[in-house]
Structures are given as C-alpha cells and as structure tokens.
C-alpha cells in the first residue's frame, strides 16, 4: 500500500502536473502545478513538496522510500478565468492552461520573487461563432501547443505568435475530450463518440490520417496517454470506466478493453520512466495502479504455451501461473522476444496486478500525475493526495 498524504486545499482540482525535471538532474521534481474548476474564482497554483532524507535503516523496506515527504505548500498562485481544463508545463517555468472560456494562457513562474504572472494569452480560440465555448484539452511539444474543445476545433499554436498558426475547424463532429502528441508532427485526439483520430501536421489536409474506434455503443473516450518509449502504444480511458489499449500500427480497433472503474476514467498515465506501470483515476473516487511488470517475467513462448493449456480447459487462474514457472529461468535470456506487457495476449493479462491506492473511496478524482516515486491526485473533495509509491521496476 502506498504511503498517502491528503492535503486539503479549499478548491476543487481539475488538473495537476509535475514540473519537468531539469535535464541530467538526478533529483526528483519537487514542484507541481494545479488548476481548479467549478468555483467562483478559479486559480492556477504552484506547490512544493519538501523531501527529507531518512537513514535507510529507519525504513522497513529501504529501496526508493529513502525519504519522507511533507504536505505540499503553496509557492504562489494566479487567478484564472473559467475552469482550468488543461494544464501542462512548458519547459521549466512556463505553464500553459486552457480554460472553459475557450482561452489559452501561458503563465510564467518567476522563481526569484516566487510569483506567477501571465506571459501570453490567446483569447477565445475556441468558440461557437462568437459565443463562448469551453476548451477541453491541450498538449505541448517544445514550443507548439495544440488545443481542442467542445466546438470540435483544433488549434495549433506556436508560442510567440499572436494568433494560432493553423486552425482545423471541423476536426470533429462531437466534443474532443483529450489530445496528446505522438511525435513531433503527429498528435492524436479522442472524442465523445469513442473515436481516436491521428492528425499529421505535415499534410495540408484537415482530415485525420487515421481514425480508430471502439465498436458498439458510442461511449465517449475521456483521456489518452502515450507510452513514453513506444509511440505506437496508447492507453485511453472511457466514460464507462473502461481502460483501452491501442496499437496504432495496425488495428482499427483497440487491442484490449478492460473493464475497470465504475465511473468515468478522467485520466490515465503511464509512468514516464517505468512504463510497465500505469495509473488511472476515476469519477468513482478510486486511483488504480496497473502493474504490468510481471507479464514479461515469462518469455513469450511460454505465454503461448499457457494458451494451449487453457485451450484444453485444464487450468484455472492458479494453474496458469504455476505451469510456466518451471521454465521461467531457463528462458529468461530471451530478452528480445519480450512483448510489451500492454499488448500481451489475454491470458498474460491475468498477470497484470491491479491495486487500488486509496483505502477509502473519495469524491471524484479528476486528475493524476506521476514522476519518480511520487503520484499526485486532485479531487472534487478539494484534496491533493501525495502518494509515495516506493521503487517501481
């Protein structure tokens, strides 16, 4: 069980993001940004977590827990018009926020004076022809921002320019709920009809280069995250609480759909440096840790072996796991034959270990972010949870 701290912050949190680590820095990031929503006056806040070294002998299981965290404290804050619907760090001290008023704002964190000021703003880039329209999401890559909203429009914004570089007016018939970059020139959106669309910035066409979808009911997809090292693998979370895994290389449909939460999955994140670990948070008030690191404990050959066994109806769950054990060590040298755990076959999926990180259900959890050993969650219960995950492999 993770070591969890709850901080009450007097506003509902809609987005939370760690500051990116400085390059070549070995230290974990200790500053993060949060954005509030659904309040009279919303704001963007910066926080700092103090970490104290602990002698390794004092902890039960040394490993990554070589420190104790204190409650995060506010560094500075800035008012924000409308709900903060998207929040991303851009470099070390710039934070981009999107608003339910359709506006995109870049805040600068002045580290000397510890203040937060507006550095650039694009007003109402999302709109219903003059009327207000919420922007729902944004993604950042270097100095390019892409954003989308309930108007189904996609804006591609270059920092420094006064107006968006390019606007795809009819990117989607329904609402776009989340957006993320795949590569420098490619981004992917998910919408309210269960579709995943890939756009390429190099083409002049406004049409997506590829469209994938969940078949059946038109269940909205709410969030998406890309595998940190393998750009063709993405995970999505749906309004029905389902976690979807997609291989963008071949299929038009998801590789797997796993029924998970009992409410909308608001955010899904791969661990940036330990991508065999995935985290989801949901309207149902739960945060889940999906640990896929055990899937590859068995070489692929063995996995197919298990398939055959279940084909004969021989083993139940326990049996499946015990059979390959005998072969495990002999085959462990076959490193190249390992599949990515998230694309593994159904049987291997039984080995994904799922843990709920909160002992008690909280109010809806809107957002999470993970870096190093620390997971952050923001909730409608005006709480920020800071969880120490220990060492992940």
């Amino acid at each position: 069980m993770a070591d969890t701290r709850a901080t009450f912050v007097s506003h509902k949190i809609n987005k939370i993001r760690w500051r990116q680590q400085q390059k070549q820095s070995l230290q974990e990031s200790d500053v993060f940004a949060s954005g509030s929503w659904d309040d009279e006056q919303n704001k963007v806040c910066l926080w700092k977590v103090e970490r104290q070294k602990v002698q390794s002998g004092e902890m039960d299981d040394g490993g990554g827990k070589g420190y104790v965290e204190s409650d995060p404290v506010t560094l500075c804050e800035a008012p924000h018009r409308g709900d903060v619907t998207g929040l991303e760090y851009m470099g070390q001290d710039h934070i981009v926020a999107s608003s339910s008023t359709g506006t995109i704002t870049i805040y600068k964190h002045h580290t000397n004076s510890q203040t937060l000021g507006v550095s650039q703003q694009w007003e109402k880039v999302h709109h219903h022809y003059g009327q207000m329209c919420p922007c729902t999401c944004l993604a950042v890559r270097d100095d390019v921002i892409v954003s989308s909203g309930e108007d189904g429009r996609v804006n591609i914004i270059q920092v420094g320019h006064k107006t968006p570089n390019r606007v795809i007016d009819k990117a989607d018939s329904s609402t776009v709920n989340s957006i993320t970059f795949l590569k420098q020139t490619e981004f992917v959106t998910v919408n309210s009809t269960g579709q995943l669309k890939i756009f390429d910035l190099r083409t002049n066409s406004d049409e997506p280069t590829q469209t994938l979808s969940v078949t059946g009911e038109l269940t909205p997809l709410q969030c998406i995250d890309k595998h940190p090292s393998q750009a063709h693998i993405v995970a999505t979370g749906g309004q029905d609480g389902v976690l979807g895994m997609w291989d963008l290389r071949h299929d038009k449909f998801p590789v797997s759909l796993m029924e998970a939460h009992s409410g909308t999955v608001w955010e899904v994140r791969f661990h940036p440096t330990a991508p065999d670990h995935l985290f989801t948070c949901s309207e149902d008030g739960c945060v889940w840790h999906w640990d896929g690191s055990q899937v590859n404990a068995t070489p692929v050959g063995m996995v197919t072996g298990i398939n055959q066994i279940t084909g004969t109806g021989a083993g139940s769950g326990g049996g499946n796991l015990s059979t390959p054990r005998q072969f495990q060590y002999g085959g462990s040298a076959v490193a190249t034959g390992l599949t990515n755990p998230w694309l593994a076959t159904d049987i291997a999926k039984n080995k994904i270990e799922i843990t709920s990180l909160l002992d008690q259900k909280s109010l809806p959890i809107n957002t999470l972010d993970v870096a190093g050993h620390t997971l952050l969650c923001g909730t409608d219960g005006e709480t920020i949870f800071t969880m120490n995950l220990g060492s992940l492999r």
Binding site: F8, S10, D83, S100, H128, P134, S173, L218, Q360, G381
Partner: protein, 645 residues
C-alpha cells in the same frame, strides 16, 4: 453568527423604480432576488411590467463555511462523516461505538487544526478588519470545540462506571492552557520563585489536578528542603490518580484511598505543618476541598465550569455524570456578579443537565452554519441518544439538520458535490431534495454535465438524467453542432430529438448534396436503431458508400430495401428514386424485373400522394419512369436469356 444577527445589515438599493416598494423571492440557499413591486405575487403568476426599466437584483450573503479555511473543515469532516455512515451500515450497537468515538475525536481534531490555522492567519494579517474577522471565526471554532468536548464526555464516550472527573479534567486542560504555558515559562527561569506568577501558576495547576507539575515547581523553590515543603511534596505524591481506576481498581477501593488521603491532608493542615508558609497552606486547603478557598480563586478558575470541575475533583472525585447538575448552582453564583450568563454558558448548562435537545437547539442559534449541529446530532443519533425524540414534521432531528446543512452546501458554486453526499444519507427526504437540486445546478461545461449525469445515474434519477442530456443537446443544437447534440440525445435514448437531428442531416443533404458530420454518421453502429429516421440516415449513408466503392449490386439492393421497409420519409422518396436512376442505367442489370416493378409501385404511390410536386422534380420523375421501363425491358431480356441457357 449570533453576534451579527443582532445587528441587522443594511444594503441600500439606489434604483428609482424601487421607490414604490420592494418584492423578493428566495433563491437557492443563501440568496434571494429583489425587484420593484408592491403586491406579492404567487408562483407562476405573471406580473405586469411596472416601469420601463426594471432590474432584478441578486442578494447574497456571506457564509462563513465558504471561507477557504473553513472549506477545508467541510471537506475533511465530510470524509469522517461518510466513513462513519459506512461503518453504521455494517455494524450497530456496541460494535459501532468505538467508531463513533473515533469519529467524534476526528471532528474535534479538525476543529482544533483549523483553529490553529486561523490563529496563524490572524497573526500574520495586518489589515485590522480582516484580522478581526479571522479572530471572530477562531472564537466560534474554539467554542464549538469546547461544547463538542463536553458532549463527547457526557453523551458519546460515557466513561467507565459513569465517573466523569478524569475526562472532564482533561477537557479543562485542553481549553485552559494558561497554567501549562506558565509552567513551561517558569521552569526556564533562573530563579523561578521570584517570578511574579509563581504561586498563581501553582494554584492553577493544583486546580486542574496536575500534581506532577506542581511538585516540579515546588522542587525549584529555594526552601524545598524545609519540612513544610517535603510534607507537601509527599502529599501530592500520594494523591490517588484517576488512572488507577482503569487499572482494575474498583470504585469503592478508589474512594477509600481518596478518603484516607484527604484525612491525611486535613490532619497535616490542622497540625500546622504548613503554617510557616501561607502559600502551602492555601494549597492544603484546596486539597481538602475547602469551599472558601475556591471562592477566593474565582479569577484563576476563570469560568464557572472550571470551578465546578476543580471543586468536584477535591470534594467528590467519584461523582457520576448525572449528579453534576446539583453542584452547578453554587459555582454559578460565584460568577453572577461580574458577567451575565452567555449563550455558551447556557449550552454547557443544558449539556450538564443532560438536556440534549436544548443543546442542539441553542447551538443552532449560536452557530450560523449547520456544520456543528448536523455532525453532532448524527453522532448522537448513532449512539441512540435521540431515540425518544420525535419531530412534529419531517423525518427525525438528524435528517432535518443534515438536510439543512446539505442545502447550505448546495447553494455554493463549488461545494455542491459535498452536499450531494450528505443528501445520500438522508433516507426519507434526501432523494426529493436531490431531484430538485439536480434540476437547478447550472451546467457550464460538458464535464460538469457528465458529473451531474453520473450522480443521477448512480441514484436512478432517470428523469433528471434525461433532462440534463436534453439541455446539453439543445445547447449544441443552438450552436449548430448537430453531431455533438446527437451524442447527447443518444445518451438519453431520446427518440424524438434524435429523429429531429436525423431529419436535419437529411435536409442538409437534400440542400447541399453532401453530408456533414460524416465521422459520426459512419460510426453510428447499433445506436442508429434508436429511431427509424436515424436508421434510415445510417443506411442511406451506407448506400452512398457502397455506390462510391462501385458496389452497385449491393447498393441497389440496399436502396430497394430502404423503400420497401418504408423507413424513408415520404418526402425523401423522390431523392431515393432519383438516386436509383444511375443504377438503372448501369451497364449490367442491377434490378430484376420484379424489383423494377417494386420501384414502379413506389413511384406510383408517390405520384398519387403528392399531387403538387414541383415542375423540376416532375421532370426528374419522368426521367425515372423512362429509366424504369428501359431497365424492365433489359431485365426481362436477361432473365429470359438466363432461363434458356
């Protein structure tokens, strides 16, 4: 706040149209709307416009619970509350009791935590008015904690054997910390006995039963080796401690010990062991429970309830909770002269008299928010302390207060979600309240709409869920976002409005000759079965796709089946039949003779029903008729050929 309620707030409205008079209607929670008018109007009644320009003004007042610091209290206590309700579902009676006590302590802990935070805030604020404001709140929180602490001892914790002095002493030490603070200050002095408050502090500590602290201070006195000092030290050391009661000593045993000890105190006092030190003699008098000495220390006790506990500690240490009330009057009389009895005193009095309802009633009046009474009453209800009481209206007292508290939360832009959770725990009226609130919460974004929808779906509020979808869909329709609108109507399975959207799409096609929102229409899947019109739209679009992919055979069959199944609206038949022309003129024969007859039948039916088709369409249909006959002849020939070979 009680203090503020006494002095009314004035808010002038400078509007000539209001000079005639003012009317008001209630809004949700802490707000109402004022507008010019003389006569009161009834709900739903239309009111004639009085003047050209009239404005409706929204009047809101500040809720202390909406302050940042107190919002933390709201959220933290919500967690405690839900946790207890979960436990209450699983267990009851004695098994639940430890949970109730733990919850009570958690509530008090958060009160204490946020008092501290307010104190820090107040200390760091320069603005006088704001500072005062913080201090006002601080005072209320401290008062809440004081009352809660007493109620916990008397009604919730019910200590072993009904002996209350030990927990009451702890309660005192928690709230009257001057003695403790002075103690810490004095022991750091070089010559403690010369500290001006040296003896006062000792008395304070004696009054709170802190024998160990007193011994420590006495040991710092320069004449500590004198006979009188060591005699006093011995007495204090021997003083029976209440903690022994929990270690298996019976009450009678403890009582006997205490009597022995007091006899010894009296003996030493009478023998004049302390006569050379007046201060020690005074301590001795306290230890023997001398009435006069307590009157003398009126100021050190500060309040009547402090004196009550101190006095009973030395006069009647094994008193039971129910007997406390018989000793109150004497203590009250001591303080009668300098202060009048305040609200706090009244509440504490009622508590000591075991009049729970009076405590709740008075507390509701003193605290402007319902936080305190709602949570306390919930605990008391779980303890079974409120079973005897029936309300003349509504459900029970617990539910009544929870509803009030939830309502005050629902009126806040952001805290409403906490309110929902409280309403869930009101078995009788919670649902009705929630239904009303759900219909009135403003929806600013799809995300919020989804959250509201989830709340409705979890609780089977089908009608409200439908209405949320309708609102969202309509809003998108207004913004000409038909695709997005359709997703909402599909969500609520709204046949009528999905049909409207499908018709709009078809209309758009017949106007422009092409479809918009293709990404949605192409992926409707099984959801197109919701309405006939939608099915037709989906199928018709499929026809186009087949046609584009040059799958003429399949396209032809689909077209025919659309006409035969009567899925298509009659107005659209012309378009469909015209779409058939290229298929009829295709190189290979697509429609068999029988199928061609079917098409002809449709055409005739159309001509019969729509006499006044405009000229251009008539031309097209004439063309169709020609194509049909040509196709028929070709079909008959090919069919004949096939038969012969």
């Amino acid at each position: 706040m009680a203090e503020r309620e006494r002095e009314p707030h004035f808010c002038a409205i400078n509007d000539p149209s209001c000079s005639q008079g003012l009317q008001a209607v209630w809004g949700c929670g802490n707000q109402f709307f004022v507008f010019p008018g003389k006569k009161a109007i009834l709900l739903n009644e239309r009111r004639p416009l009085l003047m050209k320009e009239e404005t409706i003004r929204e009047v809101k007042w500040d809720m202390d619970l909406h302050r940042p610091v107190l919002r933390k209290l709201v959220n933290e206590s919500h967690n405690v509350f839900t946790c207890l309700q979960e436990q209450a579902k699983k267990t009851s009676g004695a098994a639940l009791h430890p949970h109730i006590i733990r919850s009570s302590k958690q509530y008090r802990a958060s009160l204490k935590a946020y008092s501290l935070e307010l104190k820090i805030l107040a200390d760091s604020t320069i603005d006088e008015e704001q500072k005062q404001d913080f201090l006002d709140h601080l005072q209320l929180l401290e008062m809440a904690e004081l009352i809660w602490g007493l109620c916990e001892i008397l009604f919730i914790d019910s200590p072993a054997g009904g002996l209350v002095i030990a927990p009451l002493l702890e309660w005192l030490r928690f709230h009257f910390q001057t003695g403790e603070q002075m103690f810490l200050e004095i022991i750091r002095e070089e010559q403690p006995e010369h500290h001006p408050l040296y003896w006062d502090t000792i008395y304070r500590l004696v009054l709170q039963g802190q024998a160990e602290h007193v011994r420590r201070l006495l040991s710092l006195h320069s004449s500590k080796h004198s006979k009188a000092f060591s005699s006093m030290d011995e007495l204090l050391k021997k003083m029976p401690q209440h903690t022994q009661l929990f270690r298996g000593h019976s009450i009678a045993e403890f009582d006997m010990k205490w009597r022995h000890w007091r006899d010894e105190c009296e003996r030493r006092l009478e023998e004049g062991e302390f006569s050379s030190y007046g201060n020690l003699e005074t301590i001795g008098k306290i230890l023997t429970g001398n009435d006069e000495v307590f009157s003398e220390f009126r100021d050190l006790c500060e309040t009547w309830y402090h004196m009550l506990v101190s006095k009973l500690l030395y006069q009647n240490p094994t008193i039971k909770g129910f007997d406390l009330q018989y000793h109150i009057q004497v203590c009250l009389d001591e303080y009668r002269s300098n202060t009048r009895i305040g609200e706090l005193d009244n509440i504490l009095l009622s508590a000591l008299e075991y009049d729970i309802h009076q405590v709740i009633k008075d507390s509701s009046a003193v605290f402007s928010n319902w936080w305190f009474v709602a949570h306390l009453t919930d605990l008391l209800q779980h303890c079974g302390q409120l079973d005897s009481h029936k309300l003349q209206f509504g459900s029970n007292l617990r539910e009544f207060l929870l509803l009030e508290y939830a309502t005050s939360l629902m009126s806040h832009k952001s805290l409403w979600i906490v309110g929902v959770s409280y309403l869930d725990h009101c078995p009788e009226f919670g649902r009705k309240y929630l239904e009303h609130f759900m219909e009135n919460i403003s929806i600013d974004s799809e995300k919020k709409a989804q959250k509201l929808l989830h709340i409705c779906q979890e609780r089977n509020l089908a009608e409200q869920a439908k209405s949320i979808c309708k609102v969202m869909g309509r809003r998108h329709m207004q913004h000409k976002r038909l695709g997005a609108a359709l997703t909402w109507f599909l969500k609520s399975k709204d046949v009528a409005l999905s049909t409207v959207i499908a018709e709009r799409f078809l209309f758009e096609y017949s106007e422009k000759g092409s479809f918009s929102n293709l990404d949605l229409i192409d992926n409707l899947g099984p959801s197109m079965l919701l309405s006939n019109r939608l099915t037709f739209l989906g199928k018709y679009r499929e026809f186009h796709k087949l046609y584009e992919e040059k799958e003429f055979q399949a396209a032809g069959q689909l077209l025919l089946s659309l006409l035969q199944a009567k899925l298509a609206p009659k107005q659209f038949w012309v378009t469909l039949l015209v779409d058939a022309i290229p298929l009829l003129e295709a190189q290979e024969v697509i429609f068999s003779s029988a199928q061609t007859f079917d098409l002809m039948h449709c055409l005739e039916e159309l001509m019969r029903e729509f006499k006044d088709i405009d000229v251009r369409e008539k031309e097209k249909l004439a063309l169709l008729r020609l194509a049909l006959t040509r196709n028929l002849s070709r079909a008959i020939v090919t069919e004949g050929t096939v038969r012969r070979t």
